[in-house]
């Protein structure tokens, strides 16, 4: 079995397993689009090209953030509770196909989460983008997800599903709001703007806006974002090793 064929096998299997729970896929995909429909389109933000484009971007980033936190956080916590994952590790395959399969699954769900909001944005608002900028935006989305992937893993490796779900929600809403994924941060009071700049969600938003709209973020935002990526990666590594020690029966 070639590594490529095995990766495809693992990817297909994980995708199928997750797609069989349509409510999970659906809610992640619908929420950003509905938010745009209810909170942006009726209030006139939709008529201004720059504001509308930013609104679509921030809700798409929200979609990426939620799919990464949930697929990698709750997904991993769920795996740890089931005996299936250790079984799969005894099959004659290296760890790579399994890990790449899971990453690809996360990417697919992130993509599923940004498609509806992009369509609604294109159809019902003044948001616009050149094809090249659009592609740059897609790549930037992956970069934007960088702290949330290991962040999700860190939560997933540290606690059971019952705890991981509420913890995710607890982290996730303040993070999304504070990072300007619901309301543009320009509307925040001064103190909140300062906090916002150091949040990973703000960095994620800024990276995509930079790629699509060419609006450069502040140095503080970029430095904070990079630090978050490093910190969450270290945290995920620590949680993984700690988990290996505890999971012994």
């Amino acid at each position: 079995m070639s590594a490529l064929a095995l990766t495809r096998t693992h990817f297909r299997f994980l995708l199928l397993e997750n797609l069989r729970v349509p409510i999970a896929v659906g809610s992640a995909a619908i929420f950003p689009a509905l938010s745009l429909l209810f909170f942006v389109v009726p209030f006139g933000f939709g008529d201004d090209v720059v504001a509308a484009t930013s609104a679509v971007i921030q809700l798409a980033v929200f979609g990426v953030l939620s799919s990464f936190l949930f697929t990698f956080g709750v997904g991993v916590a769920d795996d740890r509770e089931k005996a299936w994952d250790p079984y799969v590790r005894t099959l004659p395959a290296a760890a790579t196909p399994r890990i790449v399969g899971r990453l690809l699954t996360g990417f697919v769900f992130a993509l599923i989460a940004i498609v509806p909001v992009t369509i609604v944005g294109a159809a019902l608002t003044a948001a616009s983008v050149t094809p090249l900028r659009f592609l740059a935006g897609l790549v930037a989305m992956l970069v934007a997800g960088l702290p949330f992937l290991p962040g999700g893993l860190a939560v997933g490796y540290s606690m059971p599903v019952k705890a991981a779900l509420p913890v995710m929600q607890l982290i996730f809403f303040p993070l999304a709001f504070g990072g300007g994924l619901f309301l543009p941060p320009q509307l925040f009071p001064g103190w909140l703007q300062t906090i916002s700049e150091v949040l990973p969600s703000r960095g994620a938003r800024a990276v995509v806006i930079w790629a699509v709209q060419g609006i450069a973020p502040s140095l503080l935002t970029i430095v904070s974002f990079v630090l978050w990526v490093v910190a969450t990666a270290a945290l995920a590594g620590w949680a993984y090793r700690r988990d290996e020690g505890r999971r012994f029966r």
Binding site: T9, K82, W84, Y87, T90, P92, R249
Partner: protein, 301 residues
């Protein structure tokens, strides 16, 4: 390397460990374990919960590396995926992915092996024919258990590792599963199985390795192991008891005695002959946990 030349060599060890230790945090799970699994044999690992059986299996199936010592599967480290090509392992039934169909799970597993068995054949052998389209979550407990065991055989293995294979199975399903394991053994397959039931090990295995507290306590054929760990428990009430032969452990609580012995018949005969008054006599097989307590205390004394 082709799989066939491995399991025809009669005296070759397909799996072995030498001086293996493994700790998890402050717990010493394995403490200098030597184990040999000869090709074409059924070896039973016997021990109470927490004895180190699962830890040992996790090393042999490549899930973990030992802290020190050597673990070999087909002559190499089991963490190398190539060494696991002729290995079949059973997931615990609670672990099957609920939303996937039986056929999809079989397909997923078989894609890892160079020459998998056809899905239909495997399903038939474990009495699961016709369930291909069923989601795993919709199977009965016994069906899940049998599917889990079937997965160990999908890749046409030379060695299968069965961890507590019949837990939660009814008598009929247990027989069917045992028949499947024996058939595999008759065709030259090697089996390593764990259980905390001596009866199950006796039914299948030729050789038993007894594990407790992370160590190999004793090993031998099933009859000799039965003599060591197959204790009976004689419970009775009596104000005073004479010295009785063959009692390996005596727990006294007021006038209540719990006597552990390898030969309950003789103990009861001696007791009656001694003429001591007693009542509430009960005789039952001591659980493995009780037998182990005796075994390990006996060593310490």
């Amino acid at each position: 390397m082709s799989g066939a030349d491995i399991h025809v060599l009669p005296d070759r060890h397909v799996a072995r460990t030498r001086g293996v230790t493994r700790r998890f945090g402050s717990t010493i799970a394995l403490d200098g374990v030597d184990l040999d699994v000869a090709a074409g044999t059924i070896t039973g690992l016997l021990g109470p919960n927490g004895a180190g059986k699962s830890a040992l299996l996790s090393l042999l199936t490549g899930l973990r590396r030992p802290g020190s010592g050597v673990v070999e599967l087909f002559g190499g480290g089991p963490t190398d995926p190539a060494r696991r090509r002729r290995l079949g392992v059973t997931p615990q039934e609670t672990g099957l992915p609920d939303t996937l169909r039986v056929g999809e799970v079989l397909d997923f597993v078989s894609r890892h092996y160079p020459q998998p068995r056809p899905a239909g054949e495997v399903l038939e052998r474990f009495g699961l024919s016709g369930l291909q389209r069923r989601q795993c979550g919709g199977l009965s407990g016994g069906q899940k258990r049998r599917l889990a065991v079937a997965l160990a055989f999908v890749g046409d293995p030379a060695v299968v590792v069965l961890d507590e294979p019949t837990t939660g199975l009814d008598v009929e399903a247990r027989r069917a599963l045992w028949d499947g394991v024996r058939e595999f053994h008759h065709r030259g397959g090697t089996v390593l199985l764990t259980s905390h039931y001596l009866d199950e090990i006796e039914e299948l295995a030729q050789r038993v390795v007894v594990i407790g507290g992370g160590k190999v306590l004793t090993e031998g054929d099933t009859a000799s192991i039965r003599r060591v760990v197959g204790l009976s428990l004689v419970e009775l009430r009596a104000a005073v008891l004479p010295e009785l032969a063959g009692v390996v452990r005596d727990e006294v609580d007021g006038d209540r005695h719990r006597l552990h012995t390898p030969d309950a018949d003789r103990l009861v005969r001696d007791l009656v002959r001694s003429g001591v008054p007693f009542h509430d006599l009960q005789v039952r097989t001591a659980s493995l946990e009780e037998a182990f307590l005796t075994l390990t205390e006996g060593r310490a004394a």
